[in-house]
Assembly symmetry: C2
Homo-oligomer: 171 residues x 2
C-alpha cells in the first residue's frame, strides 16, 4: 500500500488553510491541511510493522515541533502550487532526515521545504492571478505540534490515518 | 472542539465503500469510510487529555475487533441513509458501552447499530431507487480491526485524526 507521513497543524491553522483550499486546492477533499514530512512511499503489507517500529523510535527521539508559519509563497515556475511557508528549523530538518534515512529505503527526491499547500493544479494564468491576491495576505502563526501521523492512501486518492506517534523526545 | 471516535475498516473495504460513497454520500469528502463508535461530542480543549487517558484505558481492555459485514441495509424511513451492515457482536456493544459510560459525560442517544454509511442525504425517491439497486449487492466481508481513532472536526465539517489507540486487551 501507499503510505505517507504528515504533521497536522492546529485546528485554527487548518481552518485558515481550508478557507483557501476549498477554492484552490484539488486535493482539498483527499486530506485535511498538513505538513508533509515524507511523501508517498510504497510499503508491503507484511512490512508495515517495521515502519511503525521505526516511527516509534523516531518519535521518542524528537520533542514537539515548533512551527512558525510566516507568509504565503509559491513553488512556481517549478510547480504551480501556493503554500503557507513554514520556516525551516534544524529540528524539522533533522526529523525529515530521520524519516528519509537509508533504513527507510528511500533517499529524499527534493530538498525539504516545509509547507502547507493551499492551492495547486492551476494553469500558469490562474496561478499568477491567485498568487497575486494571496501573496500579500498577512500570515503569521506560531504553534507547537506534538505528534506525527502515518497515513495510507485509498484508491480514490484520499488518505486514512493508520497510526499516530507522539513526539516525546528531547531533540 | 468537536470530537468523534471511529474504527476504519481495511483499505479493501474502504475502497469498496468509496465506490458507492463518491456518488451517493454527501460526507464523502469529509472523512474516509468508517464505523462510528461515538458520534460527535464536545470537549473543552483543556480536557482533551482526560479523554485520551480514558481511551488509553479502554483500548488496553479490548482486543482487536472482529468485523463481519453482511449486507447492504437502510435506516429509512427514520433516515434516508444506506449502509453496509456490520453484524452486532457482544464485543462491539461492550466497546460502545465503554465509550458511552457516565465518565464520558454523555449517554448514547440511540441504540448502537454498527454500520459503514455509503449513501445519505437523499430524497425518499432517490433513496428508494438507489436502495433498490444496492440492496441485492452481494456483500460479505470478515476482518479484524486492531485500532480505534479519536478525531476532531474542522469548521468545514471535515475530520482530522487526533490520536490512534491500538486495541491490546483481552475482552
Amino acid at each position: 500500500m501507499k503510505y505517507g507521513i504528515v504533521a497536522f497543524p492546529s485546528k485554527k491553522l487548518q481552518d485558515f488553510a481550508n478557507s483557501y483550499r476549498k477554492r484552490y486546492d484539488t486535493h482539498f477533499s483527499k486530506i485535511t491541511p498538513h505538513i508533509t514530512l515524507k511523501s508517498v512511499f510504497e510499503v508491503d503489507d507484511s512490512k508495515v510493522n517495521e515502519v511503525t517500529s521505526m516511527l516509534q523510535e523516531i518519535s521518542k527521539q524528537f520533542k514537539p515541533l515548533s512551527i512558525h508559519v510566516s507568509k504565503v509563497s509559491s513553488f512556481a515556475p517549478v510547480n504551480n502550487a501556493i503554500y503557507l511557508k513554514v520556516e525551516p528549523t534544524e529540528q524539522l530538518q533533522k526529523l525529515y532526515d530521520a524519516l528519509h534515512a537509508k533504513s527507510f529505503g528511500l533517499e529524499p527526491e527534493y530538498k525539504f521545504v516545509p509547507h502547507i499547500t493551499i492551492a495547486q493544479d492551476m494553469s500558469s494564468g490562474e496561478h499568477d492571478d491567485i498568487y497575486g491576491q494571496l501573496r500579500m495576505t498577512d500570515v503569521h502563526s506560531e504553534e507547537v505540534i506534538d505528534r506525527i501521523h502515518l497515513l495510507y492512501q485509498l484508491e480514490d486518492g484520499s488518505w486514512t490515518v493508520y497510526e499516530t506517534f507522539r513526539l516525546s523526545g528531547a531533540e
